[in-house]
């Protein structure tokens, strides 16, 4: 449901309502004290403003009763807030037993997710509504963080260990997720969408029957299946150029002309590889005419597109280096 608090995202998980309630409580309490102190200050500033140039104030040392009072009361309130927050957190950190387990790998700068039946996604997470979901997360390189504002959940993804987080989506819809631990150049674009679906839809999606397929993940499978990965090595050390950053970049061809790495160029390269040879490379790519379907070309293109934000190697890139600044 829409949060009762203004500017808050949807309350789309089991935690959201409780977290927002605690937030409201803290807000009310802090607002009360902030207003109280502010009013007192403004009141005193007016009531006790200097009347004559050489006036002095009263000779007051203090008041022990007040000191004890304004120490104890904030302490009690603070402990109350702490306890509520701790309760939410402990519940959040201890996952229930009956979870749908999704494996997640973060790397600079994309997310790879895998459903229980092995189906893979890139930068997307499909889950059924009203089901406890647990994410088991690892990192291939630096520390990342998986954050879904609408669920009010977040957890660091740390290399060298597995971190888990759980939640139960309570409302269907599409919700933004973000990487929220600074991880380098493209930290800010390392996000995606969580799609919460009705259970029947989810089941259909999971088995690949529905049209809502994650093309990039399908493309990645094809990339391996057709052995493209044996020549197009990401770090540029293969027989063929790296495809990192290719989509949208400018390719320098052997004949000195340039072409933009768009869908058309990719399709042509798969079907008629000898039409355009990248400068510095041999025309050794075999043609896949008759071996790939149009749908497979689309999926491969989607996968290559998802490599847009991957680190472009200094040597062996398919694209020309971008001039310092704009991309």
């Amino acid at each position: 449901m829409q949060s009762p608090l203004p500017t808050f995202p949807d309350q789309a998980s089991n935690f959201a309502g409780n977290v927002d309630a605690l937030f409201s409580f803290i807000l009310m309490t802090t607002l009360f004290f902030a207003v109280l102190v502010t009013v007192l200050i403004i009141f005193a500033a007016f009531k006790f403003r200097r009347q004559s140039a050489n006036e002095v104030g009263d000779d007051v040392h203090g008041n022990n009763v007040l000191e004890v009072g304004w120490t104890l009361i904030p302490t009690i309130i603070a402990i109350g807030i702490f306890a509520w927050g701790a309760a939410i957190y402990v519940n959040y950190r201890i996952a229930p037993k009956d979870t749908l387990d999704i494996y997640l790998v973060g790397k600079q700068w994309m997310w790879k997710l895998q459903q229980p039946n092995g189906r893979k996604e890139i930068n997307e997470l499909h889950i059924p509504v009203n089901r406890n979901v647990k994410l088991i997360m690892g990192s291939e390189d630096v520390i990342h963080d998986f954050y879904v504002p609408a669920f009010r959940v977040k957890m660091d993804v740390v290399p060298g260990r597995y971190n888990t987080m759980w939640f139960r989506p309570i409302k269907t819809g599409k919700y933004h997720f973000f990487c929220s631990q600074y991880c380098g150049t493209n930290h800010a674009v390392m996000g995606g969408w969580v799609t919460v679906m009705e259970p029947a839809e989810y089941a259909a999606w999971l088995s690949g029957e529905s049209g809502d397929v994650n093309p990039a993940a399908a493309g990645e499978r094809l990339f391996t299946q057709f052995a493209c990965n044996t020549c197009h090595i990401p770090n540029g050390t293969g027989r063929a150029p790296s495809l990192n950053g290719l989509f949208g970049g400018t390719v320098l061809l052997a004949d000195g002309t340039t072409v933009v790495g768009d869908e058309a160029y990719i399709r042509e390269s798969i079907l008629q590889p000898k039409a355009k040879i990248v400068a510095g490379y041999q025309p050794v790519m075999p043609t896949f005419q008759g071996l790939v379907t149009e749908e497979q070309i689309l999926n491969l293109t989607a996968y290559i597109k998802s490599l847009q934000s991957q680190p472009v190697p200094a040597k062996g890139a398919g694209i020309m280096p971008t001039p310092a600044g704009k991309k």
């Binding site: 608090l5 808050f8 935690f15 977290v19 605690l22 937030f23 803290i26 807000l27 902030a34 102190v37 502010t38 005193a44 500033a45 006790f48 403003r49 200097r50 140039a53 050489n54 006036e55 002095v56 104030g57 009263d58 000779d59 007051v60 203090g62 008041n63 007040l66 000191e67 603070a78 402990i79 702490f82 509520w84 927050g85 701790a86 939410i88 957190y89 402990v90 950190r93 390189d141 630096v142 520390i143 963080d145 504002p149 609408a150 009010r152 957890m155 660091d156 290399p159 973000f178 929220s180 631990q181 600074y182 150049t185 930290h187 800010a188 674009v189 310092a324 600044g325 704009k326 991309k327």
Partner: protein
């Protein structure tokens, strides 16, 4: 200010610390704590501008969701270097190295700090550290975040990490030497009669700060040292690929960096504890409690560092313990706030510029401190950790609190430091400008955090734009608020109206000397027989104390009697 009898206009004293000796060597080789304070003033102001420049780039770039001003790498360098410059080279040294250095000997009746040469050394160490960091900035800068999390900083970053880390490492020793100097000075150099509970609260605040400096800074030093070794020589303490643990880095880093925030705020609180009694002409309510609260903040501040790491996947129960301690550390700050407020009641309040800054501090520190409660509450932190809510929270404390304290103190003691007054009306306008600009810059960031905008983002979804625009607009007003004092304080140092010994008047020992003071501070060592902020037993101040009040114990008219 006190009403002065009409007479000839005041003149600067003939001899004082500024004209005692001339020439660049007399400044660069000085051991006079007051001159060293001015050397620090110049260098921290320089780094304030460096950090401010990076802030300007950040805010300009974030005007649009797909910022056109900077590339992602350039933006990441901007926010990193903004943090490094502001935290290590401006905020941490600012009040202690400028005002602490200048005032502590004067406030306790000493001729100088315990170790004047070490004081000068601390400035040179700061400068060398600063040069290393500038070298990093000139060589393309640093893009790891000021927190240098591993393995991003030690293995993956392609920026000038090593020189910056070395620079911060070196500058840490400046902090340690300053803290050591202050601690020893307060213990052994107090004038006769200046007992612990007659000390101004500014001194108590710096004492507490010094405890934090000497215990915490060495830990970040060794941590950064190990990180630099990892970066340069491939050691593996923090690199998981070699069996190391990135979370170990975070623990070691935050063990210092959390207490560091108390290094940044305690001195400002000390300034406020001077300003409010002075401009309400009334002793500070609950002196002992405020002194004790400073020490409590320093000690408990060492026990909460893991609240920066609630979501790293660490032990749930450790997180619960640290959250509890985090709420406890909030209590002494609340005690201080209530005591400052209570001081106003029954006072005789004037609205000179330093007092305006004190009011600003009270309001903004209140917001900053209270928003810390949201972050300390584990359940809410899950949602707002690493979002703009955090950015807003710490800027309210660091800028709304610490910088307000710094500027308030600078204005309050400018007549003592330079012998001349700043222009009051222009200063009041600047204070208001600053307050308004500040709130417009940072309040919208709380909303951005609640909406889910993560921090350290060079691009953001379009629905966040309106608050980013508001924030940048506020920043441009804030910039004016900062530039004005830079200009008129400099002007006033040379051309302002001569202020006299004690223009306000205030009760501290520093005000019983000439303005500017002699190099050796006091001709005759004062003997203290009065309490701090005791307006009722100070006939030397020339104020109208009601008849029948006050005790027979009086202060001599001038420190040299």
């Amino acid at each position: 200010m006190r009403e002065q009898a009409t007479g000839p206009a005041l003149k600067l004293p003939e001899k004082h610390y500024l004209n005692a000796t001339y020439g660049i060597r007399s400044w660069l080789l000085t051991t006079d704590h007051k001159r060293i304070a001015l050397l620090y003033l110049a260098s921290v102001t320089f780094f304030f501008f460096v950090g401010g420049f990076f802030a300007m780039m950040i805010r300009l770039h974030l005007l649009t969701p797909n910022g056109y001003l900077l590339t992602p790498d350039q933006y990441n360098r901007m926010f990193t270097m903004h943090g490094v410059a502001m935290i290590f080279f401006f905020l941490i040294p600012s009040i202690p190295a400028v005002m602490g250095n200048f005032l502590i000997p004067l406030m306790i009746g000493a001729k100088d700090l315990a170790f004047p040469k070490i004081n000068l050394l601390s400035w040179y160490v700061y400068v060398v550290g600063g040069l290393f960091t500038l070298w990093s900035m000139i060589n393309g800068g640093l893009d790891t975040g000021w927190t240098f999390y591993t393995p991003l900083s030690t293995v993956y970053s392609n920026s000038a990490v090593a020189p910056a880390v070395v620079g911060v490492f070196i500058t840490g020793f400046s902090s340690i030497l300053t803290g050591l100097n202050f601690l020893v000075t307060v213990h052994t150099m107090r004038a006769p009669g200046m007992t612990w509970f007659r000390l101004p609260l500014f001194v108590w605040a710096h004492y507490a700060t010094s405890i934090v400096m000497i215990l915490g800074t060495p830990v970040v030093a060794i941590t950064l040292g190990l990180a630099a070794m990892e970066r340069v020589f491939g050691l593996g303490f923090f690199n998981p690929a070699m069996g190391g643990d990135p979370i170990l880095f975070q623990h070691l880093f935050w063990f210092y960096s959390h207490p560091a925030v108390y290094i940044m705020i305690l001195p400002a609180m000390g300034v406020i504890s001077e300003l409010i009694p002075t401009f309400a002409r009334k002793r500070l309510f609950g002196y002992h409690f405020v002194a004790a609260a400073s020490l409590a903040i320093a000690v408990i501040g060492f026990l909460v560092w893991t609240h920066h790491m609630f979501l790293t996947g660490q032990s749930t129960y450790a997180a619960v313990a640290f959250s509890f301690l985090t709420f406890i550390v909030a209590v002494p700050s609340a005690i201080k706030t209530f005591n400052w407020t209570a001081t106003l009641f029954g006072g005789s309040i004037s609205f000179d510029t330093p007092m305006l800054y004190a009011f600003g501090f009270l309001g903004l520190f209140l917001v900053g401190g209270l928003t810390g409660l949201f972050l300390g509450a584990l359940g809410v932190d899950i949602n707002i950790h690493d979002t703009y809510f955090v950015v807003a929270h710490f800027h309210y404390i660091m800028v709304g609190g610490a910088v307000m304290g710094y500027l308030g103190g600078l204005h309050f003691w400018w007549p003592k430091i330079t012998g001349r007054m700043y222009p009051e009306w222009l200063a009041r306008i600047a204070a208001f400008t600053l307050f308004i600009g500040f709130n417009f810059t940072f309040f919208p960031q709380f909303i951005l955090g609640i909406m889910g905008m993560p921090r350290r983002y060079h691009t953001y979804p379009p629905e966040f734009q309106i608050y980013n625009v508001m924030s940048t607009a506020g920043a441009s007003i804030l910039a004016v608020g900062y530039l004005l004092p830079m200009v008129y304080l400099t002007w006033a140092a040379f051309y302002g109206k001569v202020a006299g010994d004690n223009p306000w008047p205030a009760t501290g020992l520093e005000w019983k000397t000439q303005s500017p003071p002699l190099t050796e501070n006091f001709d005759v060592t004062p003997v203290v027989t009065w309490e701090a902020y005791d307006f009722h037993n100070r006939p030397d101040l020339g104020l109208d104390v009601p008849a029948g009040k006050g005790s027979p114990v009086v202060a001599p008219a001038h420190g040299d009697d």
